[in-house]
Amino acid sequence: MTDKPLLEVRNLRVEFPTREATLVAVDDISFHINAGEVLGVVGESGAGKSMTGAAIIGLIEPPGHIAGGEIIFDGQRIDNLSNTEIRKIRGRHIGAIFQDPLTSLNPLHTVGRQIIDTIITHLPLSQKQARTRALELLKEVGIPSAEERIDHYPHQFSGGMRQRVVIALALCADPKLIIADEPTTALDVSIQAQIINLLKGLCSQYDTAIMLVTHDMGVIAETADRVAVMYAGRIGEIGPVADIIQQPKLPYTVGLMGSIPAIGEDVERLTQIDGSMPRLNALPSGCRFHPRCPSAFAYCAIERPELIEAGNSQVACWLYDKEKGQGKSPAHGLQKTHTKAVSKTTTQPANTLLQVEGLKQYFDVSPPLLTRLLERTGRKYVHAVDGLDFTINRGETFGLVGESGCGKSTVARAIVGLYKATDGTICFDYVDDGGLDDKQRMQMIFQDPHASLNPRWRVREIVAEAIPAGTGSTKQKITARVGELLAQVGLAAEDARKYPHEFSGGQRQRISIARALAGEPEFLVCDEPTSALDVSVQAQILNLMVDLQRRMGLTYLFISHDLAVVNHISTKVGVMYLGRLVEWADTDTLFSNPQHPYTRMLLDSIPDLTNIGAKRSQVGGEVPSPINPPSGCTFHPRCPFATDRCKSEIPIASSVSGSSVACHAIEEKRLPDWKTS
């Protein structure tokens, strides 16, 4: 190991002057990255991790600016370089990959043009040589038939392929460091695995260092060599990945790790860090985590802790200070409570609440009549949901999982009556639910807590709107009821006077739940209720939902793309692929003994926290377009077990060892047993 690190950040401070006060987004942080090393930077939104990355490549948006400290890259100080000088380093020596592959490519140029331009800017190559190099790069990042694809425009690529192009773009000048800011967040799990493997492989091949900024602990676990945990603009803990994940020292890291639901672990409640990250204009004194920290003692509020050695890692926490933390040990409040959950399978006789039969939902996306006549094309339909059967019993939580575009959300909207089903029946409590009747017994919780509350309404109006206009509902009664509902979801009655923008994401989701509960429903449809939230807040919401279910006997349809979350909360799980259920079973059965090849692939592609540095197996290919789904079994193009029969014949569900599976290979007993690990 060389003495000099590739990148050294010393006491970096990034400020945003605003009218009221100067906000400090990154406050006095120091770290280094060695050549060829992967440093993971984790933290919840607002922790300042992206800002750190932007500071290194000199891309902080004004009025933000670096207010102190220095950044030394390869022996040269780069934080005070002029714009022209930093441009020579940016792209040449430091590459960048951003979160959204849809917007990080120019839609008006072919991908080849963009890569070639970047190469020519940084390397002394001719147009022709640059093109050859671009082709090599595209092949390396795994773009099939690169010779042809090089002249295609970004919109002709899928999300995963586009992110590959972005990686090629970042690699094209053979940089020494890549700043990857949430490179996989916008992608599906199966694609995520492909991209992570690619990034890791290429970097070890070229000996490129990566600063991997993400909120996803799983991605960090399998990629990073060292991890820095950030909280409210400070580094809380930094050290080797194994230490951070297996023996976290900082109470915040302990809580963060505990709040991630994991498959194979059966806990009733997730660890919960109360509260949320403080806003930058209201930072607490001393240690910024102390108001949420269960092990905090008086001194934590007085002085800010600096990073000190603790084992293999460095921790900024007074608990590990020899004098101040004497006799104190980290509280165990944040460790996972390993109480075995009550058996998830319901013992009471099955009492069907919702029955969906042959549900089909097509959307007409045909071009206008004139175009159809001129081009002699027929009508086009998106087969969002294509023949779906399932039942949900009273008191159950039915989890519906699948990748984006598989029709999960459409199912939710069809059930609550936002769409009129093309075909099939939805029976609620044995009554055919034709339209928007029965509204009070069935409610919905939405994904985006920022869009699901009317920004111009006060919380009181938002919640009161959903209270049924019964007889004699006076103003006092409604106010009392709103307070009661808010109390149920853990908010104060005074919050009713505020507007939605005064709340954090998690609190907004609580308001959303309060609104859904207003009509005293029996059945809640939850469409990705936690996917827009940070993990520690997600744990709070999931715990709240479990509590409410127990208290009120609610039935949930829980839709998510996150298998671990579904595993945690559901009693039954259905796996959807391109508008069809490919497998459904009790949660325990499905996760311990998955049958369908697609389910197995999904389970395989989940990053495993216990398996540090391990490669995850990939699902090849991507989800096809639902406008023109593959014939027969829709999964056959990606399935390693596909035969000619799979290409022509739609599989019918049959019962195999406790699960209902729709797969020819299983029927013909061609499928090997699920790895017994």
Partner: protein, 313 residues
């Protein structure tokens, strides 16, 4: 967006507005402050015209033909009583401008109000209902957009006048002008509201309201309307300037408000006849007043657009 909520109750309403982000962005733009002050002066002058104006241009008893064509006070032959000179029948130009702005502003505000009401309603329906209703309303709007606004206003003005006949001309011509201008300008409102509605209606709070079983009209006017008002406010300000100018144009062409109650446009038309005989003040001063009024309202509109658009902040 930073917190604009009134967290403390102690400061008064004015102080709260002054301290808010809007107030700050107003204060920090000097040109906007100037435009605001000028607009406020016009509004005040228009409101209190009978008390502010040195003479009453409608009081025939106080007008003397002997005072006709007097130049502004600082010029040779000027009269201290008439600061900006007098017109062809001896009316004080300053007073007619003050009274004229009253009519110009009144017509402008009224027509923007009606144009906005029509436009918002049709835009909401068009955006929310969609389909054929949307296609129909928008085709009508597009046909109308393919003609110059002033032509549309002239056409509507002429049509109403010919229906009502010449007898009713005097008293109702105010309302005819207002109707003409508002029917010419509803399209801009409708289009803006429609596009905002189409964005907002796909947001989850609208779906949440639908799941609660609320009807379309309720959702349109209780949920969507407050959320589309931002852009409406912006174009309303810009349209106000346009409406004032349009009214002046109509009056200049002789189809606007009657000459007995002259607006700025009427004054310009009257003065136009004497422009070449040397009495330039009769037309230049009302023209200048009109230009300044239009400009300052427009600047206010521009500021409002920037202040309400979080992207430009």
């Amino acid at each position: 967006m930073s917190d604009t909520s009134p967290s403390t109750k102690a400061p008064g309403l004015f102080q709260r507005i002054w301290q808010s982000d809007m107030g700050y962005s107003f204060r920090s733009s000097k040109i906007t402050v100037v435009a605001g002050i000028i607009s406020a002066l016009f509004v005040l002058a228009a409101l209190f015209a009978p008390w502010v104006a040195p003479h009453d241009p409608y009081d025939l008893a106080s007008i003397s033909i002997m005072d006709a064509f007097l130049p502004p006070a600082w010029m040779e032959g000027g009269d201290a009583r008439f600061l900006l000179g007098t017109d062809n029948i001896g009316r004080d130009v300053l007073s007619t401008i003050i009274h004229g702005s009253r009519i110009s502003l009144g017509v402008g505000l009224a027509s923007v109000f009606f144009a906005a009401s029509i436009g918002i309603t049709l835009g909401l329906i068009s955006g929310y209902v969609g389909g054929r209703t949307d296609a129909f309303i928008m085709r009508v709007a597009e046909i109308q957009l393919s003609f110059p606004d002033i032509l549309i206003a002239l056409l509507i003005d002429g049509t109403i006048r010919s229906i009502l006949g010449p007898g009713a001309h005097g008293n109702i011509s105010f309302f005819v002008v207002i109707a003409a201008i508002s029917l010419a300008y509803w399209v801009q409102f409708a289009r803006t509201v429609r596009s905002t509605t189409m964005v907002e209606k796909n947001k989850e709070y609208i779906q949440a309201a639908r799941v609660t079983g609320k009807g379309s009209l309720y959702i349109m006017f209780r949920h969507l309307l407050p959320n589309v008002m931002g852009p409406v406010l912006v174009i309303a300000t810009i349209m106000l300037a346009l409406a004032i100018v349009t009214e002046a144009t109509l009056s200049f062409l002789g189809v606007g408000v009657p000459p007995t109650q002259p607006s700025l446009g009427t004054l310009i038309r009257i003065g136009n006849d004497f422009l070449f005989s040397g009495e330039w003040w009769i037309t230049i001063f009302p023209g200048g007043a009109l230009a300044i009024m239009g400009l300052s309202v427009n600047l206010l509109g521009d500021w409002l657009r920037d202040a309400l658009n979080p992207k430009l902040r």
